[in-house]
Symmetry: C2
Subunit: 424 residues, 2 copies
């Protein structure tokens, strides 16, 4: 039979998986440092939960449903969080949680877009303060920096501002969500196509031109916000909040990364306040975002009689892997390969036991191979040191430690080998 995988999903071989797990580990470590706590929710959720109204009609067709079950695979980690909070009303608030895990979307696979991929989310539920926006934006960006990713920007907008802009350019309130969905495609479809779709909603041509001109206009953040406050009624407070948020991000060393972008809409229906994307740039063109987030003060209320404010960010671990995985790819995580010849397995195992007991990653020969074949394996696996064990070594109670790069060999005691390998 053909040993293939379904469309849009993929395997990670050892060196890929080492990189993927390294990326996830750095992100998780930073989230912990920021004082967020993990939760784990199942991959499977009831369809009633997945389809709750706040979730948005558009995406329903992308949900994998399980045959014969009223359940499907989670489409993001935000809806499960909202469901979890709604069913655990004794949580200490604010509830600051992170979650790493796979999510599934049955959309068309393409470059950097899979049907199964890994996300890392962090959210604060129960606080309406801007301080939370700052934390959930700063933590993932600092994780990116620790991964060596520096050429990203933070695009930021506010649903409240966007709504005010739409209103002031004559988009009727009933068409607002539809207009936001269309504007969200500006980057992807271009201005002409978006204008056509907006006209299809009943916005007249001139208003469309003005609207798109306004939201696409360049300038620095301060200019944009001043222009907005002057031109569009009722935006002063939220523009002030945005200035305050940018200032707060400055305290994390991130002030220079922020770009106010009134065209940023974020398709999901549940955002109510600030929305943002973490985007990499390539030759002046925006790559698919590696993360995003926003405030969604009504989502918990969709699963409960009591609403709670909430705000969060996601980073695509799989997407970060696609961007930097190849660069950071390590062939091995083993520090040493324990080779043995003849009847010296017992001594080799005791050496491996001691190394492992000292936290050293020790791959142990488990084939009846001669020494040169064993060295060949260690070389192919990219392992830098081989502990060679034969009769001579056993009788002297020593180990012949070979450096696979320089080729140098040294007869050492086990304590010396531990010290040598711990140096690395």
């Amino acid at each position: 039979m053909q040993p293939s995988t379904p469309r849009g999903v993929r395997d990670y071989g050892p060196s890929e998986a080492i990189s993927l797990r390294y990326i996830a580990g750095v992100v998780e470590e930073v989230f912990k440092r920021f004082g967020f706590y993990p939760i784990e929710t199942p991959a499977i959720e009831n369809t009633a939960v997945l389809n709750a109204k706040a979730y948005g009609e558009e995406s329903n067709k992308e949900i994998y449903i399980l045959e014969g079950e009223a359940a499907g695979l989670r489409y993001d980690l935000t809806v499960p969080l909202a469901r979890f909070v709604a069913s655990n009303r004794s949580l200490v608030l604010p509830f600051k949680r992170y979650q790493l895990g796979a999510i599934w979307r049955k959309d068309e696979p393409q470059r950097m877009r899979y049907r199964e991929f890994m996300q890392a989310d962090l959210d604060v539920v129960g606080s309406a303060e801007l301080d939370c926006e700052a934390e959930v934006i700063a933590a993932p960006l600092i994780a990116l920096e620790e991964l060596g990713i520096r050429d990203y920007v933070l695009l930021i907008n506010s649903r409240k501002l966007l709504q005010a802009i739409l209103k002031s350019f004559g988009v009727p309130e009933a068409k607002e969500v539809a207009a936001i969905r269309i504007i969200d495609k500006l980057q992807k479809l271009g201005r002409e196509a978006v204008q056509k779709q907006l006209e299809g909603l009943g916005v007249d041509t001139k208003a469309c031109e003005q609207l798109l001109g306004f939201i696409e206009d360049d300038g620095d953040n301060g200019e944009k916000l001043a222009r907005l406050s002057a031109a569009v009624e009722g935006t002063k407070d939220e523009a002030g909040n945005m200035s305050r948020l940018i200032e707060m991000l400055g305290a994390y060393g991130l002030g220079g990364k922020v770009i106010v972008d009134f065209s940023l809409a974020r398709g999901l229906d549940y955002y109510t306040g600030f929305v943002w994307e973490f985007a990499m740039m390539e030759n002046g063109k925006r790559l698919p975002s590696i993360g995003s987030g926003g405030r969604y003060d009504n989502l918990v209320g969709a699963y409960s009689s009591k609403s709670l404010p909430a705000v969060g960010s996601s980073i695509g671990i799989t997407r970060v892997f696609d961007l930097i995985g190849a660069k950071s790819m390590m062939k091995t995580q083993a520090g040493v390969f324990v080779a043995f010849i003849g009847d010296n397995r017992g001594y080799a195992v005791s050496v491996a036991n001691t190394l492992r007991g000292n936290g050293i990653y020790a791959d142990l020969n488990c084939m009846r191979r001669n020494l040169s074949k064993q060295l060949e394996y260690a070389g192919a696996m990219g392992i830098k040191h081989v502990a060679i064990i034969g009769d001579k070594e056993r009788l002297a109670n020593k180990i012949n430690l070979r450096n696979m790069i320089s080729g140098a060999e040294e007869m050492l005691t086990i304590e010396e080998v531990v010290a040598e390998l711990k140096k690395k």
Copy 2:
């Protein structure tokens, strides 16, 4: 709407998730130390892969199928490994891999049995040597010991021995797999029910009694193996291998844990050699096993024209959590809560930045709460230290560090706070 989860799956709240991730982390670390490398395969596999003949008819009904797709959720991590190896023929052999991840089985939920749970597997593909059995048994058991689990036993049998026993007691070869499946239920159903089912296969009553008497007979491992070699033809070599394996496990300090158990069958059809279970005992009764494994030399061949020997073990991370999670449950992972009052957010953020930069897990206040409310939150979260920041502290460029257990407070510099918190 009712925010419920599907049957047989569960959430892990923060303290549970901290424990679950701690358990998974210890297991992964030990697997790495044993020189195993990760791979990641998708949760979704083609049904052709999931249903491959070696997989066993019995379990097919337990597979979750995705509506409208010729794909379903993985039922274990062994079949994906075999499929991966079959489709990556340039792998360096032996291929020593581990994988941690969720698997799904649509069977009847009960105590410690879920429909979605987490497993940690490690396997060696490409070597037929007993050394591999020793490594894939030793690593998970040493992981259990590092988790403080000591009251386990390693039950071990060999499919080859069991087949010879069945043959010598008159079970026809065509009924062998069916008989193995029945005998596998001995612990669960009891001797009488198993005897009845074996008779249903056409084995006569007297032979059944003798067979069950033989495989249930007690004694120490040496006695059992000697008795077997004497009583059942063609078992001498494999009995010798089993003695050798037990001796090898002695080198890992595990010799005293091994119990040879001829009744151990392991339902899965793909095992071809040694099979084992890691079992906890409670009042002399075996609990559901927390891990298992065996040699399966034909499974890769089910996905490829070229067969490869393989052997591996699984531990149920979810099950280990059920056994020790409550004991090891930590309320928090944050080392400090950074509290602030008045307009001192900026200084508080810079303190949090420094702490986090030093690898300290620092939860930062993100509500406009007064100090006593902030201390209440830190107390409810089980956080041991609070860094209190007010005007006095900011002006002195110091931090008031409160020990939440003793109630003691000290005015310290940021360097002193870092040093104090790193002590823990």
